[in-house]
């Protein structure tokens, strides 16, 4: 069978293959990685009839410009994204949350994410990539995973096997509202902080600094100091943890976080809200709101139920 492939004309800011991530490897120092915004990835994959965790291309800020050199494909883009399809020198402005068919020689140009950081590009039948540690995710800071652990690079080829079907599908969903609060549960070292500092943490707002990436998000604008040590005996960590380093500017861990951490953790972003903080553009002002663990779990299960409902609303065009 002849391999069908795209050529990367422009790689974009940080474009990687992702799936559900690396499982049961954190004790080797390999962190989970995987798609940052599950919901968007599930939508794009579902639109092209893939398993929700099929390998997908995640892009941040500026996306890739891809030329379909061989074959045809049906694709979908999710997120708040500006993109064009170039057919016979004609530019078509693309819409997210619906599929398109791309023919040989045509170009997909993912220009940028809008008021958000991450978007997703899925193709029917998914991409033909080599797994590492049983995952199609890419952990670029450790050079592990798909694409030899690297971001997409200019001129590389992206292979796939399935020709695109001749129908398109879509899903009607409202553009997300940008909430200005992030819900958290208490962190395991909340007692490292005085009551008035904890109040300051919740009452004053934070700003997303210019350091926001797949490893984590650094905050500014509300210095939080611990009364005890700035260090703890390093321990295993998960995404969403809010670490307070000595300078007092919190760091929220995301998918490519180090596997263990030695900073006290004042709080933990609830799983249902982790994608929100990841998607906040630089400079976003927001504040934290405390919930208890039971509430956090219920919010998570409710969100999951809603997502299933959304995914069941895919219609044929």
């Amino acid at each position: 069978m002849i391999n069908k492939y795209f050529k990367v004309l422009r790689s974009g800011t940080h474009t990687t293959f992702q799936d559900k991530g690396f499982i049961n490897l954190q004790h080797l120092g390999i962190t989970t990685s995987g798609v940052v915004d599950n919901e968007l990835a599930f939508i794009a994959n579902s639109l092209v009839n893939n398993n929700i965790y099929a390998p997908i291309i995640e892009f941040a800020y500026q996306g890739p410009r891809l030329k379909l050199i061989k074959g045809s494909c049906r694709f979908a883009i999710s997120g708040n994204v500006n993109f064009n399809i170039i057919k016979n020198n004609k530019t078509i402005i693309g819409k997210t949350n619906q599929t398109y068919k791309l023919e040989e020689g045509e170009i997909l140009d993912i220009l940028s994410t809008i008021k958000s950081n991450y978007g997703y590009f899925a193709i029917e039948g998914s991409f033909k990539i080599k797994k590492e540690f049983n995952s199609n995710s890419t952990l670029t800071n450790s050079k592990i995973g798909s694409n030899n652990g690297n971001c997409l690079k200019e001129n590389q080829k992206i292979y796939f096997t399935k020709s695109g079907s001749n129908y398109n599908s879509y899903i009607n969903i409202n553009q997300r509202k940008i909430d200005k609060f992030i819900r958290v549960v208490s962190g395991p070292q909340m007692n490292f902080f005085m009551l008035k500092v904890i109040k300051k943490f919740f009452n004053n707002s934070f700003i997303v600094s210019n350091i926001t990436n797949r490893v984590g998000v650094r905050l500014e604008g509300n210095i939080i100091k611990s009364i005890k040590s700035h260090n703890i005996a390093s321990e295993g960590i998960t995404k969403g943890a809010i670490q307070i380093p000595a300078n007092g500017n919190p760091i929220i861990l995301l998918n490519d976080h180090p596997t263990i951490g030695g900073y006290p953790k004042i709080a933990n972003v609830i799983l249902a809200d982790v994608y929100k903080i990841a998607q906040y553009p630089i400079g976003t002002k927001f504040s934290f709101k405390k919930v208890n663990l039971d509430e956090a779990e219920n919010i998570l299960f409710e969100k999951e139920k809603n997502l299933r409902k959304i995914l069941n609303q895919i219609k044929i065009l």
């Binding site: 954190q26 005996a233 321990e235 799983l271 998570l300």
Partner: protein, 228 residues
């Protein structure tokens, strides 16, 4: 065996073995972790996604959607010391190190801070048999302890943007080896030519938690013999 277990978020428990850091407690932590990891059927059926040992804690990450927290807790509580204490793994791994000034870029600084000569520092470092407390931060990075008090220095106030692969560095009571190029704030006193992490091997780690590590001196010429 452990003090208590607490939930830290919707997807993780911490098993707390107390606040003391020593090799005895860490051995229990490692063996408890190895026991859980060896029981793959249980990991799968309970939806355990990660089991991460550190000095005196284990993080258990689970799939929250399976809604079986109580089953996981029951399992973790059912593991008895007699189940785990027969697994021993304290063989000594010999790691070549070169202290040439090209690699040991913070050795002068450490010498000033500790008021020891470079040779004294090297002697102490070579004569220490380290315990591997854990692997983490990045793939394959071992945390080695416990460093002689005389060599205790703080982390650098401003971390380096890039520490070279193989660099051996110290801070506080610990010594680490960077398995790959990485940002890092520890004081670099030498370099090893060995690969600590090989992703193509079934077990990618050269050094396992619970192993003992002793460094042995090589010169710059020997160092280059290890190059492929």
């Amino acid at each position: 065996m452990f003090k208590h277990i607490y939930q830290i978020n919707e997807q993780a428990f911490i098993i707390d073995f107390g606040s003391i850091i020593n090799t005895e407690i860490n051995d229990i932590v490692i063996n408890y972790h190895n026991y859980i990891l060896s029981n793959i059927d249980k990991i799968k059926s309970l939806g355990i996604k990660n089991c991460v040992p550190s000095y005196n804690k284990i993080l258990i990450q689970f799939d929250p959607f399976l809604k079986n927290k109580s089953k996981i807790l029951k399992y973790l509580n059912s593991i008895k010391i007699k189940d785990i204490n027969n697994i021993k793994n304290n063989k000594i791994i010999k790691i070549p190190i070169c202290y040439d000034e090209e690699y040991a870029i913070d050795l002068n600084d450490v010498s000033k801070k500790t008021k020891l000569s470079k040779n004294q520092i090297i002697d102490i470092h070579l004569n220490t048999i380290f315990h591997v407390f854990m692997i983490g931060f990045m793939p394959g990075l071992p945390f080695l302890g416990i460093l002689d008090k005389k060599l205790s220095v703080l982390r650098k106030s401003s971390p380096r943007v890039n520490v070279e692969k193989g660099s051996v560095a110290i801070a506080d009571k610990m010594c680490v080896i960077y398995p790959n190029n990485s940002p890092g704030g520890w004081n670099i006193i030498g370099k090893t030519p060995l690969d600590l992490f090989n992703k193509n091997k079934k077990n990618p780690l050269l050094i396992q938690p619970g192993n003992k590590v002793q460094f042995h001196l090589i010169n710059k010429k020997d160092f280059h013999l290890y190059d492929k």
